[in-house]
Symmetry: C2
Subunit: 210 residues, 2 copies
């Protein structure tokens, strides 16, 4: 990959993060990348295409970056902790806001939707694998739809990233309150056999409300 291509991809991500989808023009991206504006079209054909490739590239890179940490997760508590770490790290640096901006843009520009979905799906799939593994021995296993929960968690983090941008303290407090809930989940997983059996029975008796 040529240097210019790489600079443009990086410039696109920084522009998307700092100035939002509304501010991600060929000119502003080129300025951020330190290259000439016409090169956007020489290398990528259109701004949308550049955003698409930048988004895919970043998601691959970022998911990869946390790969070992995903593998190391052995409980729901640890998954929540990893989520917090990723939120804090990516919030300032990276990918969550970029994805959120792509989703925001995709509402109006259908061309952005497939790539935004593809990028988000990289995160979702990683979370699915972890959830599946972590729930294996949990009494919650049969009551959690793993693909659905992975999607809910991913969407929630996107919203939290946006919220963080306008109320950092509020987002911190939100995160802290969710972190506290993991104690509850952990307790359920750690209940003795008798209590677990009771819970299981009660859960089975209650029909899904969906």
């Amino acid at each position: 990959m040529t240097d210019t291509r790489a600079r443009l991809l990086d410039g696109a991500l920084r522009t998307l993060r700092d100035r939002g989808i509304a501010g991600a023009s060929a000119r502003s991206i080129a300025t951020a990348a330190g290259v000439n504006q016409a090169l956007v079209f020489y290398h990528f054909g259109s701004v949308d295409q550049l955003l698409t490739e930048a988004c895919a590239h970043a998601a691959r890179e970022r998911v990869q970056l946390y790969s070992d940490q995903f593998d190391a997760v052995t409980s729901l508590s640890e998954l929540v902790e990893l989520g917090v770490r990723i939120h804090k790290h990516e919030g300032a640096e990276g990918n969550i806001l970029v994805l959120a901006q792509m989703l925001a843009g995709a509402q109006s520009e259908p061309k952005l939707a497939p790539s935004a979905l593809a990028a988000l799906t990289m995160w979702i799939e990683r979370i699915e694998v972890v959830l599946e593994r972590v729930l294996l021995r949990s009494p919650l296993r049969e009551f959690v739809d793993v693909p659905g929960m992975a999607r809910a968690l991913s969407a929630a983090f996107l919203g939290l990233g946006l919220y963080d941008g306008i109320d950092h303290d509020g987002a911190d407090r939100a995160l802290a309150s969710v972190t506290r809930l993991d104690v509850l989940i952990e307790v359920i997983d750690d209940l003795g056999p008798a209590a677990q059996a009771l819970l299981r029975t009660r859960l089975r008796r209650a029909p899904p409300t969906a």
Copy 2:
């Protein structure tokens, strides 16, 4: 309020919802409202100001619309159900996407941030009241930071609204899986006194991880 003002406020909301913050120009809003473009500036001074007022107006109206339903909630399950109803109704019609787009825009345009936050806060405060009431008799009460949880839930719904725009089926599945979790919460609330005492003890023993 003059007819034109009302039309512009409505047009701004529809444009924000359908074409996103990137497509919410004075021209497109005026077209959606069926009025002349120059009237945006006559009545509101700037596009940002129009978006700000539209956002505040819509949040007031929408929160009001669900006011009775918020009051009628008596359990966490019912709160989840109401959340699903609001998501489904607002997703097509309304306010959640508008708010998400305002948040997306506020990242780049600081002038939008205060009004986006104010609008979102109307939802958050309503949820806080309900959470406070519903948790009163729950063993979870002392482990839930109500303001934090209300913010987390609100942010999560914003993310879900955006996600819905690019993957409706995925969002449905996410929602369904969360709906199923409410059974767990309900079961905890309905445990007998002995089991509740056990849970309380275990929860107290586990220190917050935040």
